[in-house]
Amino acid sequence: MSRARVWRTVTPWLYLAVPLALLITFTYVPVGNMIRDSFTDWDGVSPDRRYVGTRNYVELFTRPELFQVFSVSLYYLVASVVQIALALYFATVLSFDVRLRNLFKGILFFPYLLNGVAIGFVFLYFFQPHGTLDTVLGAFGAHGHHFWLSGGRTANTSLAGVSVWRFMGLNFVLFLGAIQSIPGELYEASELDGANRWQQFRHIIAPGIKPVLSLSAILAVSGSLSAFEIPYIMTSGAAGTQTFVIQTVKLAFEFGKVGLASAAAVALLVIILLVTWLQRVLVPDERSDLV
């Protein structure tokens, strides 16, 4: 084998080495460990762990109350529909020639750049009785104070609202990118044919961004099933805002049931894979470079 050929074979792997090393160290090895732990009774601290076979899985699936928390995910699922609709609206509007376009792009994307913990704390003040939200509502004549996070429906809706605020920017940027990759001649041609903005959206933009739309839908479903950061920081899952992941974290780190929690995490992984697969089967899309 000539020297040049050796280099040809090795070079791509050299480029790949760093990302692969990171991917394996921080994703595949922990996932492997998690799957192994799901078959043990490890408490998270003890140097010894006993293999207990499928006991954790049996316990998980014989305790229906552990899956009841998925009802909280419905709030996030509904919210993500709103989120995608809003993102689509803004992306479409801003893809046309409007004034201060770049400023609005920045404003809409900005929340996504913020750290989730910071957002949690900001909104904790925002939702306090007599806090920012109540003050703003007061300016519109709705005086008094509200307990936005005090429990049940209101709390979950408030939290889901925060997640819309945070993640809309990401959807927005994805949509905007897809829209802008549609050749400009198409718009010109349609304008010559007398199409209005809605018709342009319906027949040019919508089909053009379908792959990104379906990717967003998958992200939305898996995101709402595994909602964690915002409710954990803002309410720690109290007052009926507990999600499946918060419950798993509590099992592992509060009650020392790392084995059972690992099994729950594996179950969540399988559920998300299933949902994604189902979605691809029900809504197949043409091969595309984007997804």
């Binding site: 160290t25 090895v29 998270g44 429990g151 709390a155 007052a239 099992l251």
Partner: protein
Amino acid sequence: MKRTALAGSLLAAMALLATSCGGGGSSSSGGDSAASPTDPAAVTGDIKVLTQRTDLVQDGTLKKYAARFNEIYPKVHVTFEGITDYEGEVKIRMNTSNYGDVLMIPAAVKTDDYPKFFASLGSAGELAKKYTFTEKATVGGKVYGIANFANADGFVYNKDVWQQAGITDWPTTPEEFLADLRAVKAKTGATPYYTNYKDGWPLTAWTQVQGAVTCDPAATDEPAGDPDPWKPGGDLNTGDTLLYDIVHDKLSEPDPTTTNWENSKSLLATGKIGTMWLGSWAIVQMQDAAKKAGRDPAEIGYMPFPSQKDGKFCTPVAPDYQEAVNIHSSHKAAARAWIDWFTDKSGYVQDNQAVPTLRGGQQPTALKPFQDAGVRFVEMSQAKAATVTAIDNQSEIGMTDKPDYRRHLIDVARGAAGGDLQGVFDDLAKKWASAQKTASL
């Protein structure tokens, strides 16, 4: 073909690398006991002390203690590592051998595992004569941790607020206490009681109500064998009923989900909060908050649980974190010297107005009102602490060091969750009894 082979070997190499990093060591280096050194001048070595008191690390207080320690042990070099999320972080570090030389035992470590992590400090018979609460860290007749100090339990309150409400004496029954809170609400405009629901951990103090009603030192051990720790007349039942009534009668903060612990200290100090149920460690912090707010620290009062047995109040006394020596430490004698000195001679206990664990030590001035009023200090047994924690974890209730069930209790009381108080107790008892049977003890 060559490509895949290379990829395969790369993968294998990385997997190998990762597993070698991930594996935790349980082997011990050197001896597994840390006896008190006899000759201070002969003790040498660098030791690292892990602590949750990041504030004392930052303001140099701990360094001052170390300097005084060096007067006796000149050849020992002490460094401190303050850890904000102490429990969470140390627990994970204990999978390696790098968890300092001296550390507080995280609550998550099973008592039976102590010998795998910590050096033994001596025999139970001997150490129990010198310190209280050694039974909490005793495995197989050997002690693995010594508590630096202990805490009494009661309600810290703002004297000014209670006086304004026209209350002069400590209430002696829960009913009287509730009536007093109502008076506070009506006459002062202060929030009578603050739950600290959001931060959660202050709620766990309510478990330390054990012993406050029955005055029984074994009340902490009882749940180990009792299928219903919440039965009427018991400590937990009385305490949780009081908490329920406070919240149910709207005598606590209007929105518990947005509370803030740091803020609550100054609120209490400035008379915007009437009272909170906390360990006696909180008195000093409240006094500090009062000083910062320009108030008189003497306004911070401390009262026992409103219940009397034979005409006397009781306050349960339970140990704080227990200090231990890392079994992997290469300077065990120096580490042990630090624990001995810090607990016995440093004055840390007095500085923090804490209850000493060294037998024969003096009660702090902060608890002088308790002594003057003849409050009985009940030293709570820790003999079955490990069993109780194991059952609690198995049941996922959260009786020990976890806020979960009291949050639910408050949710029920304020109408944010369905059900009633008796239903909550019945449910808890059912879970506890079934966990007792299934917990691996």
